[in-house]
Symmetry: C2
Subunit: 487 residues, 2 copies
């Protein structure tokens, strides 16, 4: 019965007394060399700790390198000021608190917002490049521009909650390469410290002493067992679990329907399982960032997002992750964007036109929707839009344009027919200093975590850039805490 626990590839914690020999040791061991791991390593090393970074791939980067390189920062960063945007820590906090519910981690949000400007400065000082520019066409910057709106700040109800400001800070590099640039810069910064990097080390389990303190890591290096002792602590920065089919199906089965799982092979949940096996608690395991990318080009925001009954269900200018969450979780992922000829633009592939009609009535028939529903939806929307209002869902005036130029089309954004993307947001519960907590909020001695191995700033109502913000900000704090413990 206990067979699986001791051997094989189990992430169950090992006992120190069972470790035949240590292959190396350090004050602080960092597991995973993405953005969280890099920032943890820098801070721990700069605090004087002897740091060892274990990475399963042959080099650093992780999922952060695959990302769009966007970081959610605000409160009046240098770039925000240069571009003429006012912001404050309070406005940022009020927005994030209101948009990240239910049950956001208010303490983490407050600390993050209060220190966001300083964190931006730190990233710049470490060599991460940001251009002094604003990109107004959407959250994702195909150019090398920096600042953009990457959340629902301008959408109902948030302008009434807090003064809006763009807070997506994308690293200076063309398009998707910005994530690579971010990691190149952070890896270079790590390399200026004495921290040691050990690639090709697949971490399998933590090692605990008799008092249940985490004192090391059990790894495999090209198949061979290697154990490393940590005098101060171990920091798990090993990514999320979107690439573990079993974990996704157990914890967040609806996410399995999304075609593009954003992650590397490393996002197999191993870090989370190592942490829970050592007594940590995993929380919000059902949550994910669900991207329904219908806002490229931006003019498509003027279309109407409808469900299979022909009803609207959200203001279309809510951020694409918020629309994605509502569409997947509340509308079974069966949604269409209805446009007329005046609004139509070629959407970002691969999106197909599901139906076309010379009238809304014809379109409704083509979509096999209940008779009259879509007609009512469009007529009601048009009646408001002509007066610049959207009484049902409060879409902002600038995106309101009555549909009236035939032909009409329904773009197929059903989850199985379109390229939505997704990653997991659940993970280990940590305090603001990166300590992994038990189900009763007791820190697990010697264990820390950051990045998508943890449940962090975002749960639901995701704004883009929060994951890398989380990873870098709390990765740094975990590094400092673990280093202090080693002394």
């Amino acid at each position: 019965m206990g067979q699986k626990r001791g051997g094989g590839d189990s992430s169950a914690a090992r006992r120190e007394c069972d470790i035949a020999r240590w292959h190396g040791e350090a004050d602080v061991i960092v597991v995973g060399f993405g953005a969280a791991g890099a920032c943890a390593a820098i801070e721990a090393a700069e605090a004087g700790a002897d740091v060892l970074v274990l990475e399963r791939a042959s080099g650093g980067g992780g999922t952060s390198a695959m990302s769009t390189g966007q970081i959610y920062l605000g409160g009046g960063t240098r770039i925000q000021k240069v571009c003429g945007f006012e912001d404050s820590a309070d406005a940022m906090y009020d927005y994030l608190l209101a948009s990240s519910g239910p049950g956001p981690d208010a303490e983490k949000l407050r600390l993050f917002c209060d220190n966001s400007v300083r964190h931006f400065d730190w990233l710049e000082a470490k060599g991460v490049p940001f251009k002094e520019s604003f990109y107004g066409e959407g959250s994702y910057t195909p150019t090398d521009d920096c600042l953009s709106y990457s959340g629902s700040e301008l959408a109902h109800p948030y302008p009434d909650v807090a003064p809006p400001a763009p807070r997506g800070h994308t690293v200076q590099q063309l398009g998707i390469e910005a994530g690579v640039q971010l990691m190149q810069s952070l890896i270079a910064a790590v390399e200026t410290t004495p921290a040691r990097i050990a690639p090709d080390h697949h971490c399998e389990a933590l090692v605990r002493d008799e008092a249940d303190r985490v004192v090391g890591v059990f790894t495999r290096h090209f198949g061979e067992e290697r154990c490393y002792r940590a005098r101060g602590g171990v920091i798990l920065c090993a990514g999320g679990f979107i690439r573990s089919r079993e974990m996704v199906e157990r914890h967040a089965p609806w996410l399995a329907r999304v075609r593009w799982a954003m992650g590397t092979d490393g996002d197999d949940g191993r870090g989370i399982r190592m942490g829970t096996a050592a007594g940590g608690e995993a929380i919000r395991m059902h949550t994910g960032c669900i991207v329904l990318p219908f806002t490229v080009p931006k003019g498509l925001l003027r279309g109407l997002m409808v469900n299979r009954s022909g009803q609207r269900f959200i203001n279309e200018d809510a951020y694409q992750t918020v629309v994605g969450e509502a569409a997947l979780l509340h509308q079974q992922g069966e949604v269409y964007l209805v446009v007329d000829d005046a609004i139509f633009e070629t959407p970002m592939p691969p999106v197909e036109i599901r139906a076309v009609g010379e009238s809304i009535e014809e379109l409704e028939r083509e979509l096999e929707m209940p008779e009259g529903n879509l007609q009512h939806t469009v007529a009601s929307y048009n009646a408001g839009a002509e007066h610049g209002v959207d009484p049902s869902f409060h879409k902002a005036k600038e995106h309101l344009q009555p549909l009236g130029t035939p032909p009409y089309a329904a773009l197929d954004y059903r989850v199985e027919h379109s390229l939505w993307s997704v990653f997991t947001l659940g993970g280990l519960h940590t305090d603001t200093d990166g300590r992994v907590l038990s189900p009763e909020n007791a820190p697990i001695p010697g264990l820390f975590a950051a990045g998508r191995t943890t449940s962090g700033l975002a749960a639901q109502g995701y704004s883009s850039g929060l994951s890398i913000a989380d990873a870098t900000f709390f990765g740094r704090r975990a590094g400092r805490t673990a280093a202090a413990l080693a002394r």
Copy 2:
């Protein structure tokens, strides 16, 4: 840092070497004396094990005694046959598999359905009384009747999935007292075995040996520490966590909005925390059974459930927990039931009339809904209902009645204004034999669980009676497994 772990009321597992003395021992220790614990104790004792039941209250009963005493059973039970209903294990399985998604535990469902008739017979043999009668007015039986429809079997799309049959089997006793009757019968059955009952024992933590095997329980008896050794295993049957505000807010914050938390003080999540602290995994912690009790009297099913925008969002004849789940999670809990004078009946208190109008237009205005939406909803519904169809949501023909007799009213079923009820469905992951599993599906040696301490047959799309079915069926299996281990 480790301060909270060792002392106080932590549920972190204790080490056997730290136990000064054992105050007693048994082959099998059962924690909690509700339906799951009683059934586990009976089976373990009948298998020849020396059984000790530890209960924090002064007597058995738990939340099962507070329940409606309804048990979801089928496949052709004696009562189903006597009442003239055909059923099969396959039909039951097909319905439960389709309605409990996404991500139901197919293995548990299959086993449960295949053995449901035998389980019913066992309950009867143990003295649990069931009347040979069918109650057709709803799921809950205010009378002492037995059989009723307690799920969505008759509602779209399930009649197309599996032949419907009523499977709610309520213990013979008037109304809410049926739960008390269930527990009186089960406790009496336990008392015919040699199993020992120890009330007033508040279990705080499990005790593990050096190999991490669960070997006992740390309890408090009127404040005094008492430790009990388990030679075979410990079975956690300690309820869910709806009475732990902190756990609800962390894991399922939306459930905190529901006014009636169905549970005893024992539903504080302690059993789940004891289990995770010993290496078990908690799953589906965000799920709950959310009851929106608008179907008493049953004629109100003919009303229209609408959201704050005046849209329908579900077939109103879906089971009240399914409507509750959609209303709370997808419609922010802001829903009304729209009726006309012909349909109106006094609803089960405390439900207030939010608005009245001589026309739907007036009602819409009173409710401050976007102009035209409710009018369209009712006109569209009426057009279909006149032909016995509901093209939008497929409510069954028998509940379709056009609204046309003024005045019209909106009954206030908003979650904060009406008496919804809720309990948690997340908990420890167990196999079909009641073994608690680690995040990697390895059984935790010596540890078992059943009832709402586990995530069982139901996740979402709850049908009433599944929790007691789960508790009794898998409680029995856990009892047998633990007893076998003790030999």
